[in-house]
Symmetry: C2
Subunit: 349 residues, 2 copies
């Protein structure tokens, strides 16, 4: 089959690799219907995280089950499934606590699982999904083609934006600021709105992203950054700042923006993968009682409730995909996101 490998900085290739097979009783073999490029894939793409040898890449996918191992009970061949970006057994203490990203037997796409067997990367024609029962969520029947983009966001970005909002305690009447206008930031706007926020300020300097943020429920847009951005957010939100700041980038500047935009006693929910950012300033946090929560999103925990809302049409997070590429143009899909000509690239094998 064909799958994507990263060879180095800005070197993405679709190559012939061995066909995956069911190797463990808990495996499922899934034919990929749609996959995509993640903002975090851009760290190795840009060389921020160096690639030392060619590696499978991609961790967001939906597809159809082709075959399952003998222990698999919750999905069967023919099922349409959504895979969270982190695989988990669903039974360990962490999974039961809703922190599937810390699963004791957890596995990641493109890496070896706890049995030492490679889990294929998501940007390919097929994947061996480890821990199928704990990980995969089947839709009721075959979904309409129009739902493909939104279903695909449940694999990562929608669940991740939702995690930022949950981690920051967003609820009915909250005032919220979202730092970051990538797919995750936009989904965080949608999540905050869905959770009942009264005001949602999206920080964005791009007209297309501002427009989508508005569609997703942003009540205000702030284009300024740094101290000017903080002043503008504070002014918009009662002169004191946000109850909740959702940090969806992962840089030093974005975390500083989020912390300074939060009112005393408020909460920062962060999901941006920390990329060379500094540690958190404990003195500032102590004096303001601003708390910080979040991390790598356990999207599996949120999948059922978000799936219900996608199927009912209550939310349409798939709008974050503004470019679609066939799998053999995967290099272009990366370039479009790298050059910011696309918010998020969808891939169709």
């Amino acid at each position: 089959m064909k799958a994507t490998l990263i060879h180095g900085t800005r070197d993405i290739r679709l190559e012939e690799v061995p066909d995956p097979t069911v190797q463990l009783p808990t495996d499922a073999l899934v034919r990929v219907v749609a996959a995509c490029v993640c903002g975090s894939d851009l760290w190795p793409y840009r060389g921020v995280r160096p690639t030392t040898s060619p590696q499978r890449i991609g961790h967001e996918l939906i597809g159809v089950v082709e075959e399952v191992g003998s222990d698999v009970r919750t999905v069967k061949p023919g099922d349409f499934v959504i895979s969270p970006f982190a695989l988990s057994d669903g039974t360990c203490a962490h999974c039961r606590n809703g922190v599937q990203t810390s699963c004791e037997r957890g596995a990641w796409f493109g890496s070896e699982d706890s049995e030492g067997v490679l889990v294929d990367g998501g940007q390919g024609e097929y994947v061996r999904v480890a821990l199928a029962d704990g990980s995969l969520v089947a839709t009721p029947g075959m979904p309409d083609e129009s739902l493909i983009p939104s279903l695909l966001t449940l694999s990562d970005v929608m669940g991740t934006g939702h995690h930022a909002a949950v981690s920051a305690g967003v609820g009915k009447g909250s005032t919220v600021v979202v730092v970051g206008d990538g797919a995750v930031g936009l989904c965080a706007v949608l999540a905050a709105n869905r959770l009942g926020a009264e005001r949602v300020v999206a920080m964005s300097r791009h007209a297309d992203r501002q427009a989508l943020a508005r569609e997703f429920g942003a009540t205000d847009i702030v284009a300024e950054r740094g101290e000017e951005g903080v002043a503008r957010v504070t002014e918009l939100l009662g002169g004191i700042g946000a109850d909740a700041a959702l940090e969806c980038v992962g840089t030093k500047e974005s975390m500083a923006q989020a912390l300074a935009s939060t009112r005393p006693g408020g909460r920062v929910g962060y999901v941006g993968v920390p990329a060379g950012g500094p540690e958190l300033p404990i003195g500032q946090l102590f004096s303001t009682n601003v708390s910080v929560g979040g991390g790598v999103a356990p999207v599996r925990a949120y999948l059922p409730e978000l799936l219900d809302d996608v199927l009912s049409g209550a939310i349409d997070p798939g709008r974050v995909f503004d470019a679609t590429f066939p799998l053999d143009r995967v290099a272009d899909a990366y370039a479009a996101m790298d050059e910011r000509t696309a918010i998020k690239s969808l891939l169709r094998p």
Copy 2:
């Protein structure tokens, strides 16, 4: 009147100072019935925070109102009152949000208020309390002498321990570890128990403090520290660590202990004044989804509910006072805490 001043490292003196008077319409003049020494007073006492010129000191007190300014409505001469360690107007946005420590007009004992007038330190015969309406809480009638110690803890340590527990989300069934066996740590044990925690592990190496922790509801004691301490806590708490870690010291080591003792997805509530500690390790927090909240405790927010429990006898936090000194022996009161011969020193003017 007589009041305490700090002149430098381990140099505490009771001196004659001008009698305080009502100077602003929002002031109350309070005769101090009991005061105490705070763990945070030991930072300047030990020279960790240098004293450049003689300063009034002390911020925990209860007493009787002698006189009030013309605008004061909620307390009157003759009332027995508890003063939180931070003074607040009770009306600004932060006060309404329950973060009185960020009050826009807030004042601190031993420093100038927002009008530029000195607020006396708490370790004296009398204090001018600024922002009396927002700050002071009167008891119903004159309390029994036996309640003095517990009422005094509501000025700081009980409310601060409670803030650690609230910030860490402690609730019914929580598993909790408390790092720090000073008065705040012990009150945090009591607070966690009061909030319904199922398991409360107190980390302590001192027999007297271990015994009091048990009285306050600790189900387990761990004497080990560092990696051994983490291993022991993890073993006691389901093999995964605590839902909530309450950090009540403020050092680099205590925060590391708290973070490493928390299960993935759990929360650290911290109230130890950060003393030269490092910043928080964002990479560790991100991968484990451990969140961190807390800060300088808005004890005024918690005073009414905790007062009810003290008056009903439901809690007896005053047990943290194991040494009482007349005000003219204030230097001995500091030395007892510095040398750890006392958990907490009570002062009677």
